[in-house]
Every structure is written in C-alpha cells, then in structure tokens.
Amino acid sequence: MGVEPTPTIHALPLRSADFSSLAETLDYAAEGETGVNFYTGRGELQAALSYGELRRQALVLARRLAGLGLDRGARAALVAVTGPDFLRFFFACQYAGLVPVPLPVSIRLGGHGAYVSQLRGLLEGCGAAVAMAPAGVLKFLEEAVGDRIALHTYGGPETFDALPETDVPLQPLRADEMAYIQYTSGSTRFPRGVVITQRQVLSNLGSIIRHGLQVTERDRCVSWLPYYHDMGMVGFVLAPIGAQRSVDYLDTHDFAMRPRRWLELISRNRGTISFSPPFGYELCARRVSEEDAARYDLSCWRIAGVGAETIRAETLERFAQALAPAGFRPEAFLPSYGMAECSLGISFTPIGRGLAVDRVDADHLAGEHFAQPADAGTARVGGFIKCGPPLPGHEVVIRDGQGRPLPDRHAGAITVRGPSVMSGYFEQPDLTRASLSEDGWLDTGDVGYIADGEVVITGRKSDMIIIRGRNIWPQDLEYLAEQQPEVRPGDASAFSVPRTDGGEVVVLVVQCRVADAARRAALVRRMHRLIHETLGIDSVIELVPPHTLPRTSSGKLSRSAARRDYLQRLEEAERSGGGVEAALGG
C-alpha cells in the first residue's frame, strides 16, 4: 500500500490548546505534519491522515453542509465508528456551525433490535437535523430513522459528499457556543446528553496537556478507546489535536478481540501516552505470554493512564509484572478521575509516581465516614487509589448530606466546580438542576474524600452502575426484566457487586412466582441473553420469592438494601457450604 504513519516529531511549535474554538485548534495543528493513523485488527496501517489533510477535507464537507440551510447549532448525529470519516464530519460541523453528537457503535451478538432502538432514542433525544453512519452501520441508522423520525438528511458519507459545495463564508462555532453533545450512558430510556461549550472543552484540554500529562514535542498517542466515550473523544481525538500530536488508532472491537495489538502498536510506533479503563490492562495481563512480553519494547510508554471505573491496584500490578520483561515501568501508571460532565478530566496523579494506595480502617470508614489511616492494629484494611490533586482552576469539595463542606479525610459527596464543568444536560432542565447548583457546583454522584490534597474515590452515591468504564442505569436492567411475561412491574432490582477477580458484575434480583424449574431456568437464560444484547454486559440473575425485595417507608424499592440482602444471602450460602450456586435461583 505504501502508506506511512504520520511522524511523531515535527517543526511546528507545541501549543497547549490555547485557542478559542475547536476549529481554530485544528487550523493550527494543520500547519504541522502530524496526524491520525488507523490500524486494522491484523495490525496493518489502513489509512493515515495528516491534520492538514483532515482540515482540508473537513472544510470541503463544511461547505456542503452549509448548503443544507440548517439553523446554526442544529445537531448532526454521527455514528462514531473509529476512522477518518467520523473525524472529518466532526470538524466539518465545527466549521459549518453545527453541533456534532457522537452516537455509540454498540453492536452485540444478536443485538440488532436493541441497537436500533438505542439509536432511535438518541436521535430523538438530541433532536438531530442530520445523521451519518458509515457503511456497515448505515442499515441500523436507516432502520432507526424509518418513517418515525423527521431528519433533514441522513445517510452514509457518500450521501453528504454528493451535496453541492456552497460559497457562503463559513462561520465556525465560537467560544460560547456548544462544542458537542456527549451521551454518557447507552440508556435508551434515560439518555443524558452532556452539553459542553467550546470554552469548557478547551479549558479542559489546556489543563490536561499542560498539567495533567505535561505533553512534550516527543509525545505520540495510541488509543483503542471508542470515539463515543469521553476518554476516547476528548482525551484521544481532541487533546492530541490540541497539542498537535500524532495518534495511532485501533478499533475498539479489534482491541476487545486482540488486546495484544494495543501493546504491539505502542511498541512498534514508540507510543508515549495511552489510556485505558482497568479492564483493558486486565485483558492484556490475561493474554500476554512471556514470549509476547519479550518481543515488545514498552520502555517508551511514559504515561499509562487509568480511569473511567474503580481502580484496583492488584489488576494493574498483574499487568506491570507481566510486562516488566518488555520494559514497562509501573511508574508510568497514571490514575485519573474525570467524567463527561466535566468535559473529561478532574484530577490526575503526579507524572512518574505510579500507583499510590491510601490504606485506611475499612470499618471506621463504613461506620463513621472517616478515612482513618490504617496501622498495625487495624482489623480490616481498605485500600483506595489516590487520584491526584484537582486540575488548576478546578475546586473539589466533599460534602455531607446537607451539602455542607467536610474537612480532609471525611467521606461524602464529591462536588466539582471549574471552567470545564458542563452547561447542563441537553433539554433536561430537571436533571440539570439535580446535578448542577446555581453557583456552578457539579454533584459528581461519586463518594470519596480528600487526603493530602488528592481526590480518593470510595464508591458511588447514585445508583448508576459502571461496568468496564461504561455507565449503566439500573432502571434499564429492571425494565428489561419487567418486560418478561413472568415478571410484574416493581419485581426487579439491579445493582452491581465486586467480582472476585476485580471489576464489577451486574446483579439482577427478580421476584418470580413461577414454580416450575425448567421455566425458571428458561427465564434466567432469556434475561441473561437480553441484557447481553442490549447492554453487552454479563449479569448474575437471581430469582427470589415474592415480597423478598426490600422497600423504603414510602414503598419504593431500595436498590442499596436489595444489594445488602443479596450479599448477605451469598455469605450465608457460602457459610452453610451450599456454595454460591445454591444462593442463585438460576
């Protein structure tokens, strides 16, 4: 093919996203030689695109989009398949004054119907005026639109490339206008579109580049993270452009199938910055053999970022051990804390430190909400990863149930204020008011404390479940159960519990009146399959007799009480020697 990857080093002086819009950010990066590179699951370079070429193509497309006569700020829904087309459309929107909305590519085994309804919910949620999906995924988009959603134009890239170019002057999105809308969960019934302005995202990019990662002119990024996730989009599309660095991309699905390709790519292209939720490191640790490790040279990997879900030291230590022969340095681990509601980053650990675990008295923390450092006499020790100080310009305050600030080491609700915090959830004023105070404090939904000036996360206050870096709403799981003929509304409760090997697993407790064993087994299998098709996650399904699920005084189901009861049943079953299986109705 003769395709060459874009270079790591070029003559253009590094600027840290000190621009007023994403359009200007690409304008500057386009003056250099760096760009983006796309690799196949077999490790071949499929396409390379310099930022200069990306800008040229995006401007042509912007002039075609401008000819559609859409309102300024109209939403363009883009199915975010990893590849040049998404980037071209994303920036064409920036130049044409349209707001791009990345849509997920969540295609699972047997999940045709579930994916179509997810797309439909998101198209409706963002009020899309136009929508684009590349070949292969287009049929799902077409089905989702059908005759139910009125769009101005939708189709594959070629549909838009066939539009005439207009010569009206382009008016790129400005600092105080939206930069994009980011959907934070795959929920069909509860989509939450985070609205981020140009100023907000650029402030976060600047802080990440200058302080969080201290990007230099020798850095090269590698990523398999999906473009529809904040870490993939803001962290590995926008930040590299903001710092004029080259990126090597691997499709998320290819990574899931062949995780070692990620390490090969870093090794081969001398990548220096790459992030993953903990499960990515876990997948690699499981697959990498000693011979593999001997073939890689990961000594170039300066920042191995970790975030998006609960971090456990053991998972990362296993990875570091397996990859030590490849020259991987554990000091490269950089735990971070962030969320789409704050553009991306809230806090980063100091560079070159690696993991720092705060060891505390677990019983004291659970009972008194105070993180007492553990000593020799502590009966039960809990270890939490320190996630670094907040980025400059951002304040993190821990609060009690009444919203009063708490001192150091007192656990409570984590709230954040600063220039990267979102404007709100798109057209959801109630949701926005519930998360964002009038004076700008974002309630993150996480619980934690501050120790030595660093953010430490201990759990979640809201019922949202995080699996493999993805946000999952328990309501979606409960709804799936309630749709079954054997189950009645209010008969299901969903939550997550830690797995023995790290990470979390979803548990769905379902009240069931069916007595026949075969019918019960069939129900469990069917729900397991539906959850897999809809959300792409594994689940434990427990059938329990009616009136088992605990309710609050007002008669509402309590997920936290259901979780506590479940763990208790599990413990009793283990104690009585019946094993875990006996505790599960399946």
């Binding site: 047997g110 995924v137 062949r258 397991h528 399959r529």
Partner: protein, 81 residues
C-alpha cells in the same frame, strides 16, 4: 465458498474445545442464551473463528447472530468473498 456442513462441524469442534458439551449442541443452540457465553468468551470464540477460517468478521454482522446456524451462515458468506 466453503461447504456449510464443514463450517458447522468446525464450529461444533471449536465450542467443544472451549468446554461445551457436544451432545447438547444443535444448529438452534443460542450462543449467549443457551451456552451462557460471557462477553470475553464471545470475543474468544470470534477470534477463534477468524483464525480458523482466515476471515475478518465485520462487527455489524454480529447483530443478527443468535444461534449456531446464524453464525455458520455468516461464515459461509464471508468465506465466499
């Protein structure tokens, strides 16, 4: 294009190698529903299929694969290109 029966036999073999009971496998067996494959096992199965048949499975076809028969038909199509 490869013979359907031959593809089917190889799928059965692959599933058996990963610990499934051959006697309970039919063309109607649901990969996730009946075999209870978790997400990592699904990926491992697809990887095995790609390597065995020397094909690359586009992610979009997975949406219509529920049973062993669905998988065999997709492989047959992909090996025919």
């Amino acid at each position: 294009m490869r013979d359907y029966e031959e593809i089917l036999a190889e799928i059965y073999q692959g599933l058996q190698d990963s610990g499934q009971d051959r006697a309970s496998l039919t063309e109607d067996t649901e990969l996730v529903g009946d075999l209870g494959l978790d997400s990592v096992q699904v990926m491992e199965m697809l990887l095995e299929v790609e390597d065995r048949f020397n094909i690359s499975i586009p992610v979009n076809i997975l949406a219509d694969v529920v049973t062993v028969r669905d998988l065999a038909r997709q492989i047959q199509r992909l090996t025919g290109d």
